[in-house]
């Protein structure tokens, strides 16, 4: 019986999750097959270009899910999630840089190229360990996690809320962007990290690796979704909603609101980190512009478009907007910003519940008796 299961299993007997996972896995499988089975010139062939593109979308989708978790269910509008995304990306980027080894243009076995020609003498301390995959991948989670922990601890402890919180999350990512632009920081400044060769020994240029990354991203999204869903369905999820709607009340019935917020915030940050880490090898570069506040805001809009507090809505939003972006920047570049801007306005004004809101209205009824059914059998 659902509510007596472990929190991670609960999502699986929820219709929407089953549907979501079904579609996701199906789509990923289909793309992979079309890519592998059909020859280059065949009409049904999916090119490596498309596969990578889709992989990128999925990364964005995961990021959107992370944002929805804190915004939708905790009521914290983070305008700084790009920071966690980028940190995860940099952790991965540093690993990939170290993998280049002596294949850089200067053939320096240790130092990345940008350090050589800005004649750095040795590797900065924070670059050590990133030659080991396990360490780097741990950092993908830890770096964003720790930042979120420290930042969140300060913010939530002193009950910074609403607009103020949004603004300082923006300040956070803005400060980080400026910092990473500085070449002294040792992260390659504006050029960031690029020219990656291979990951875990697989050549990043081979289509097989690309497909692998795409599938990995699909799996990551599935897991991320289930984790978030699990949290949402757990009692903690309900407490989060309680914090969102009546913070004071939640305190008076004995919950430490700031702890709840901190926990969910950190989890969300780590998910964003994972998204970033998968993003970098697929697009082939990480640079401080990922920290730009505008990017973070854009992510929030994906969520708003898809429908806040639904998780799957976030995914829909991310995919739609980015697909639109790809199309528009191709056919009518000048109109792109008009379209995006118009979208923001229309969605927030006319469609406060987002696309998911539209879907929901129809599904509402059977959702209800599903719940009652569950209670009755209790």
């Amino acid at each position: 019986m659902s509510s007596s299961q472990s929190w991670l299993l609960r999502p699986f007997n929820e219709r929407s999750t089953q549907l979501f996972l079904g579609i996701l896995i199906g789509a990923v499988a289909l793309v992979s097959i079309l890519h592998l089975v059909f020859p280059e010139d065949h009409a049904l062939h999916v090119s490596a270009y498309t596969v990578t593109l889709l992989g990128k979308y999925l990364c964005y989708a995961l990021l959107a899910v992370a944002v929805d978790l804190v915004w939708g269910y905790l009521g914290i509008l983070s305008l700084g999630h790009g920071a966690f995304f980028a940190l995860g990306g940099y952790a991965m980027g540093m690993y990939l840089m170290r993998q280049i080894g002596d294949r850089g243009v200067y053939g320096d076995p240790v130092l990345p190229d940008f350090m050589v020609f800005l004649n750095w003498q040795e590797l900065p301390w924070f670059w050590h360990g990133f030659d080991m995959a396990w360490f780097a991948f741990a950092m993908v989670l830890l770096a964003p996690g720790l930042l979120a922990l420290v930042f969140g601890f300060l913010a939530f402890r002193s009950r910074v809320t609403g607009v103020y919180l949004s603004i300082i999350t923006q300040a956070l990512t803005f400060a980080l962007m400026l910092a990473f632009f500085r070449n002294e920081m040792g992260f390659g400044g504006n050029n960031g990290l690029t020219d990656f060769k291979d990951i875990l020994g697989f050549d990043l240029r081979s289509d097989a690796t690309r497909l692998g990354l795409f599938i990995a991203t699909g799996i990551a999204l599935a897991i991320g979704y289930v984790v978030c869903r699990g949290i949402v369905l757990s009692k903690l999820g309900r407490v989060s909603v309680a914090c969102r709607d009546a913070e004071a009340r939640t305190r008076f019935i004995g919950y430490r609101v700031e702890r709840v917020q901190l926990f969910v915030f950190v989890v969300s940050a780590m998910l964003a980190g994972v998204a970033g880490a998968l993003y970098v090898p697929q697009v082939g570069i990480i640079n401080p512009s990922e920290f730009s506040p505008l990017f973070s805001i854009e992510v929030v809009v994906w969520v708003a478009l898809g429908g806040r507090a639904t998780l799957y809505g976030a995914v829909i939003g991310a995919l739609l907007v980015n697909y639109a972006k790809t199309v528009f920047t191709g056919v009518m570049p000048d109109a792109w910003l008009f379209a995006l801007g118009g979208l923001f306005v229309l969605v927030t004004v006319l469609l406060p519940k987002g696309i998911a809101g539209l879907l929901r209205r129809r599904k509402k009824a059977d959702d209800d008796d599903q719940v009652t059914g569950q209670e009755v059998t209790a």
């Binding site: 270009y49 850089g104 243009v105 632009f181 050029n191 690029t194 082939g284 000048d334």
Partner: protein, 432 residues
């Protein structure tokens, strides 16, 4: 006159190709254009897109290349670096273009580079850059540091007798590298450390008060002082404004800029800047028929009497003509054939001379020093006696002084180390 020449070659090529195979004449040669049309870089890059469209149009009117029409494929990477890589992939994999003209910022080039190498495309990069790169698939028609920075410094040192130096730049790789090179260069020429002041500011920096004040102090120690500015784009307007207002005029402390061209000046009230310098390989004010022809064509194309031309546009002009010649030389637009054919190709530039593609994929350019006029134009006050060949690897950086680049057989190496006689770290790629 260049145009006429191309009409001729075009026609002859047309006749030739028709006689050879009428089939080939049908499908056009695709030319990818990869410049940001939205976002922060649109300011600089959108005009380059138009330049390419103009050149392609002219070429087509002249009968195309090998009798095939040229078909431009324009995409918008929206000033977003990962998007550059993605769009490059789109151009090469989906559109299957035969050549790409594009990019402005270093980071966008770095982001595109792996894609172009992987899919064996051709990229013509038209902007002055920091060097320290030589890819088999990229042709650098902009200036390398030794084609801009070093001659400019020579000019200041020898003609103006400058003894103290301020190296002011935006904090990204081009200024960083250029200043590293200049620093070594100046030290080699006996400039003491305390006579060099280096300063970096973020992109779009707008509050120059204290920095300009420092420069003023630094310059008031008696010896002749000059500012070498690698300040990028938007930050320049407030910088020059502040200079003007704090009463630093060109006669006392001249500023020589590497990133300020006619187009940037069109957005500045130039009155207070008269006499400040810029180093380029082309100025709109250069007096040559080729240039007049180009300017006329450009104003006609844009339908704007006051439309300005600038150095990167000339670079595209040269790059495009080199590519056309190479294609005709090779008799095909096939990448590998063109890559081999283009080395040694010589075409007229807009300053009345000629540009040759060197084996290291850089070209020969004259270096001009211009003084800003109150009408937003530059007046050439000095130029190198002959053209200078671009040097991919600077001799003034410890990491790269032993490296050379030569893409001709048998060496075919972008970073050959003359000390160890090995082909740098890129060995395995060169082997492919």
């Amino acid at each position: 006159m260049t145009i006429k020449k191309h009409v001729k070659t075009g026609l002859s090529a047309l006749a030739l190709s028709i006689s050879l195979n009428a089939l080939a004449a049908d499908d056009p040669i695709k030319v990818g254009i990869l410049h940001s049309l939205s976002g922060t870089m649109a300011i600089s890059e959108s005009t380059l897109k138009d330049t390419m469209l103009m050149l392609i149009e002219q070429q087509n009117e002249a009968g195309g290349v090998l009798g095939r029409q040229l078909e431009p494929v324009v995409v918008d990477p929206a000033s977003n670096w990962p998007l550059f890589a993605e769009k490059a992939r789109e151009l090469l994999e989906k559109e299957e273009v035969d050549v790409i003209f594009g990019n402005w910022t270093s980071v966008s080039r770095k982001s595109v580079l792996p894609v172009v190498e992987e899919l064996n495309g051709l990229l013509f990069y038209p902007v002055q850059y920091e060097g320290e790169e030589s890819s088999e698939n990229v042709f650098y028609t902009g200036a390398a540091p030794n084609q801009q920075a070093i001659p400019a410094v020579d000019y200041l040192m020898n003609e103006l007798g400058v003894e103290r130096w301020v190296l002011a730049g935006t904090d990204y790789v081009y200024p960083r590298t250029t200043n590293k090179i200049l620093e070594t260069y100046l030290r080699d020429h006996g400039v003491a450390e305390e006579d060099i002041m280096i300063n970096y500011t973020p992109f779009g920096h707008s509050n120059w008060q204290s920095i300009v004040a420092d420069i003023k102090k630094f310059g008031s120690e008696g010896q002749k002082t000059a500012v070498v500015s690698t300040i990028n784009g938007d930050a320049n307007v407030p910088f020059y404004r502040e200079l003007g207002n704090q009463g630093i005029d060109a006669a006392d402390i001249p500023v020589v800029a590497f990133s300020v061209g006619e187009q940037e000046l069109s957005g500045i009230d130039t009155a207070p800047l008269v006499g400040h310098l810029a180093a380029w390989n082309y100025f709109m004010s250069v007096e040559s028929d080729a240039n007049y022809e180009f300017i006329d064509a450009w104003t006609a194309y844009t339908g704007n009497e006051d439309a300005v031309t600038n150095d990167p546009m000339e670079a595209h002009f040269i790059g495009f003509n080199m590519w056309v010649d190479a294609v005709e030389k090779a008799g095909t637009a096939d990448v590998d054939a063109v890559k081999d054919a283009i080395i040694g190709v010589t075409v007229p530039n807009l300053t009345g001379g000629y540009a040759t593609m060197m084996p290291n994929h850089h070209i020969t350019k004259p270096v001009l020093i211009g003084e800003i006029q109150d009408n937003g134009q530059f007046e050439v006050v000095w130029e190198t006696p002959s053209t200078v060949a671009g040097d991919a690897w600077s001799d003034f950086l410890p990491g790269s002084k032993d490296l050379i680049s030569d893409w001709r057989k048998p060496l075919e190496c972008g970073n050959y180390n003359v000390a160890t006689h090995s082909c740098g770290g890129a060995a395995d790629e060169a082997a492919e």
